[in-house]
Amino acid sequence: MSETEGQMKGRVAIVTGAASGIGAEVAAQIANEGARVVAADLNEPANLPEDAEFAALDVTDPQAWQKLVADVVARLGRVDILVNCAGILAEGTLWSTTLEDWRRIIAINVEGTFLGCQAVIPHMPAGGSIVNIGSISAWLGDADLLGYTTSKAAVVNLTREIALDCARRGNGVRCNSVSPGTTGTPMVRDFFNAGPRATHDEWIAAHPLGREILPGEVAAVIVFLAGDDASFVTGADYPVDCGALA
């Protein structure tokens, strides 16, 4: 048993994108801390962590969010933690990105995060914490990732806005983001399988530690921000990037 185990006992967490990658690790780590986890995704994963329940959710659908939150609050009484991990990564330049491509990436990465915060915050007690997923791409331009970098920069500033809004209301809810570097997730694997211009080695070379980040390492920062040790942290973005932004 780890020394931190049980610190989130009695809390309720909603994690989106929980079927794979960073979201799956967050669901597992938060469940391991004793919280009740609602693992939301489009499709149910094969291995749901113990003490987690699955909820089908399309994060771009405002009604689906309202329904999910109403159901969770009716059954579990509250939502203490929201982690918006649902996201997509796609190649596209200024010229190759169609309006459809653009709308899809903004809808999932930015609107999905916005809708989640809007739906959940009214049900969060003081001490509530939201963690959104930025990226090192929020802080760096990449000619081949027009929609992705733009969407992640939007998430980082959306996070600040939500933090300031909650602070002004005095509702005791914090909101922060993490900015992972290249992480060993199915999302990144699928991106490279599609044959983009960049190579995985080139991406890794941009990280001074010379390796991919593990999903569990990103989840560790997220769980820290979701927890009470981060009680004076709000409106911040915490990189977890093997030194990429240094």
Partner: protein
């Protein structure tokens, strides 16, 4: 997992404020803590050490002593720092400038340089520097009349951290180096300043207004961030700045 059991830590500026809270939290989490400050002080749970962070020979003496007593050093927190009154670009004297730079910046540099060698020999470690929101933005008259030397020293600590982290990564040392940038905390540094301020209550109200969470941070809330960065849970975090400011910089 987030604890520090079995680890050996050195915390400078540990007699008060953020350094003290960090040393105490590390002790609670199971670390062997060496708490250093420039003057003698009493902190029963930790081994106290007198050192002047500006002096390379003091660093060498303390690191040698820690290795001799504890066998290794896993974590260094460079929390020693000063902020002087009258720190505007017009009123900051060359001596004030020099003192601020020597303690806040040179001390951090020497600590990173010497401790990282000892850590690298043992296969790794975690260095945590302490900058400030004033290393990223001017005070704007919220509290102090200026942060000319203080802000410059803290901005430099932020960049020193990035350069050190890159170097230590590229050399495969296993040593991570990060920086925490705190906002205004209820530390003796801040509280004494407010006590001496001609309008201390007004200055305190301006801080509370400037930090969206509406209050001063508690030193333990800084220590929580330091604990995370010190622990193995932050294994992929290096060269990063973790801001803990109640939302100050988000505005």
């Amino acid at each position: 997992m987030s604890g520090l059991s079995g680890k050996v830590a050195l915390v400078t500026g540990a007699a008060s404020g953020l350094g003290r809270a960090t040393a105490l939290r590390f002790h609670e989490e199971g670390a062997t803590v060496f708490a250093a400050d420039q003057r003698p002080f009493d902190d029963p749970p930790c081994t106290t050490v007198e050192m002047d962070v500006r002096r390379q020979e003091d660093w060498q003496r303390v690191l040698d002593m820690i290795v001799a007593q504890a066998g290794r050093i896993d974590v260094l927190v460079n929390a020693a720092g000063i902020a002087l009154d009258g720190d505007t670009v017009a009123t900051c004297t060359p001596d004030m400038w020099k003192d601020t730079m020597e303690v806040n910046l040179d001390g951090t540099f020497i600590g990173c340089k010497l401790a990282s060698r000892v850590m690298a020999e043992a296969g790794g470690g975690s260095i945590i520097n302490v900058a400030s929101i004033n290393g990223a933005t001017g005070d704007g008259g919220i509290v102090a009349e200026g942060v000319a030397a203080y802000g410059a020293s803290k901005a430099a600590v932020r960049m020193l951290t990035r350069s050190a982290a890159r170097f230590l990564a590229e050399q495969n040392t296993g040593v991570r180096c990060n920086v925490i940038s705190p906002g205004y905390f209820a530390t003796p540094m801040v509280l004494d300043y407010l006590d001496a301020h001609e309008d201390g209550a007004g200055a305190r109200a301006r801080i509370e207004e400037a930090q969206p969470l509406g209050r001063l941070g508690r030193p333990e809330e800084f220590a929580g961030v330091a604990l995370f960065l010190a622990s193995d849970r932050a294994s992929a975090v290096t060269g990063s700045e973790y801001v803990v400011d109640g939302g100050y910089l988000a505005r």
